[in-house]
């Protein structure tokens, strides 16, 4: 039976996320200004939120009675604008890869560390075939020797190291296989690169590192399959969509409130002909938001139907990411324009949301990539379309 109602437990969790968001909002400007260089203005966890229950932890501990764990997680993301990610969330991507593909021995050695994931290189955005970092086996010492450069690595300067993707030595056909190694910060030959200064999402640390004859022992080599490493992105896409929708929701709420304060209330009953320009544009933006909400919820629902490791919801995951990415761009651009020059001021968070959320259509697969994936599935194409 088609149902869009939230369970009581859903509602509780959403309310929890909303409360945390309200607290975060108070610190959002400070986090934006002070973390330009990747340094948060306060230590984590922040005392303001330390007293509350982490909603995501609450979900992890008890998801009985929710619309399924994965749907509840997306709902909570949407309820939170993620303005300041004040909690030290345990989403270290590299650590997850270790956990999934590491041997017990490897887990024992690296399991207590927070590991980022090192894929992107300068000159190789979403295209793994452009990866130039490489590894060479030194039979004498039994070490691997790594060289190369990585960039756009989330939290590298905050975490302990990274699980990084490099090319191995050429096989008989001249192909260079992909290998995955654990590389630690501070290790000899690992060069530190300052955190990257960004337009938005400044509290999200992004950095690079260089590897110059970095020697790692054999145990640092994970047997993480390349395709499987990437498959991690699949179920992350609707969550990335949900995060973007959270920020868009803040923007829409702000716009609606300001319009109402000016005596422009939104009447959903009447026809388009009777609307003011501001009202008409806002309604169209709300419709776009609802569109993105629907495909995101559907992707999560399908994920629960077929199971997270399945590939059978990847098209839906791509759709949710692509529509939410478009919504993020359009809604923030349009809402500022509806409100006029005052909305540009740093006095309000609107301009920050505009900056923050622009990344939504780029990271974890740009809108163009998602469309290629969707179109391939529809047209039965593979490499013919790129």
């Amino acid at each position: 039976m088609v149902d869009f109602s939230l369970t009581r437990r859903d509602e509780e969790l959403v309310a929890l996320a909303e409360r945390e968001n309200k607290i975060a909002l108070k610190h959002a400007r400070a986090a934006d200004v002070h973390s330009i260089d990747g340094a948060l203005p306060f230590a984590l966890p922040h005392p303001d939120v330390a007293g509350l229950q982490d909603p995501f932890e609450a979900l992890a501990n008890d998801h009985e009675g929710t619309s399924s764990e994965v749907i509840a997680e997306a709902l909570m993301m949407i309820s939170s604008a993620a303005d300041a990610d004040l909690r030290d969330r345990d989403h270290a991507f590299g650590s997850l890869v270790l956990e999934e593909f590491g041997t017990d021995e490897q887990k024992a050695k690296y399991g207590h560390l927070k590991l980022a994931i090192g894929l992107t290189e300068p000159g190789a955005g979403s295209d793994p075939s452009m990866i130039r970092s490489n590894s060479r086996y030194d039979a004498e010492t039994g070490d691997y020797v790594l060289n190369g450069e990585k960039t756009f690595i989330s939290f590298f300067n905050i975490y302990d190291g990274a699980v990084t993707l490099v090319r191995g030595e050429p096989d008989e056909k001249g192909n260079r296989p992909f290998h995955t190694f654990v590389v630690l910060r501070g290790q000899e030959g690992v060069g530190k690169v300052p955190s990257i200064r960004k337009m938005g999402m400044r509290q999200h640390d992004l950095a690079g590192f260089s590897m110059q004859d970095v020697r790692v022992p054999e145990i640092a080599k994970l047997s993480a399959d390349f395709a499987k490493t990437f498959s991690k992105f699949n179920h992350n896409r609707p969550l990335v969509a949900a995060v973007a929708l959270g920020t868009c929701r803040s923007m829409l709420d702000f716009t609606r409130e300001r319009l109402e304060a000016r005596g422009i209330s939104i009447d959903y009953a009447k026809g388009a002909a009777g609307r003011s320009a501001a009202e008409d544009r806002l309604i169209r933006m709300e419709a776009l938001w609802e569109a993105a909400w629907g495909v995101t919820m559907y992707a999560k629902w399908k994920q629960t139907q077929v199971g997270t490791p399945s590939y059978d919801y990847r098209t839906e995951a791509s759709i949710s990411k692509a529509i939410a990415g478009k919504a993020a761009r359009t809604i923030t651009q349009t809402c500022l324009d509806i409100l006029g020059p005052e909305a540009l001021s740093e006095h309000y968070l609107a301009e920050k949301w505009f900056r923050d959320v622009r990344i939504a259509d780029i990271y974890e697969g740009a809108g163009e990539i998602q469309r290629v994936l969707v179109a391939r599935e529809m047209l039965g194409y593979k490499r013919e379309l790129n």
Partner: protein
Amino acid sequence: MISFELTEEQEIIRSTMREISRDALSPEARRHDLDGAIGTAVLDTIWQAGIVQAQADRESRSPVSNVLVLEELAAGDASVALAVGAASGFVQAVTDQGSEAQRAVFLASLEGDRFAAGTIAAMEPDFVGDVTRPATRVLRSEDGFTLSGRKTMVPLAAQSTHFLVIADLDGASDAFIVDASATGVTIEARQALGLRGLGLGEVNFDGVVLPTDARLGEGNGADVQRIIDGARVGLAAAMLGLSRAVMEHIIPYTKERVVHGSPLAQKQKIAFDIADMRMETDAIRWMTWKAAWALETGLDATRLAQLAYTYAGERVMQIADNGLQSMGGHGFVEEHPMEMWYRNARSLSMLESVAGV
């Protein structure tokens, strides 16, 4: 609990309608367009499927199911979908809001074997008009009402036995059941850009005398917004079906057509348009389901209905426009259904009250 799962019954409805649509509607859509009317046989087939009549059962009628029906029918012929939607809208309004007496009278007329139904007359021949603020007026008279005004884009205008007329009474929108043969009612065919099979017409009410029991519900007035909400959701469902028809036509077309050495579908512009068609039809579907679910569960559906309708209206036009473009000159000629869909898309997305769920 959030779920996108259809009931078994809904799955059956959907596949039955998909079959009817594919076998009986698609092949006739061009003929309906050229004739300016839906064939009687087609109307009767639909009637005999019992969709319209099913709306008379307050317990079992389901806006969600109706959305499925309209999507499928519109994928075959949007005119037929709206004919069904219009007749259903009339029955739904009477079922939901009619007095016992009204239900007894008007729902009895559903018993025949031939298509015979009422329709909603809400839009007016006025540029930049608003369906929620009718200029058509009902004045109270000694033993009833007098109705004056003009309605336009009334579906099946010449075939309907009754009109549910949305009119102003005492400064608020209200609904009145008017017999098509009443004195003062004149009907004029008014062909339009698209949905030509639907038999759109202009209906003039020139001081039509109505008995007290013509007022829907007979009591304190009808909830007109609920009718409009249902119609917006119905239109969104029809736009969804039309969008899907375009997409399903364009995929094989662009895969087969080779230009400059490769299939059209391998051009990034075309492939991205096709991806967008899929993305947008999915989005419209869930928005429409959500609004229908709100109607079904008795929640306030006005906002969700407006958003689904608005979004579907923007997208169906874009999908039809891009679909036509991807066919080049073939999109512009009657040999293919594309040009008809382009016209239907613009028409569908501008009507606000001709279907119901």
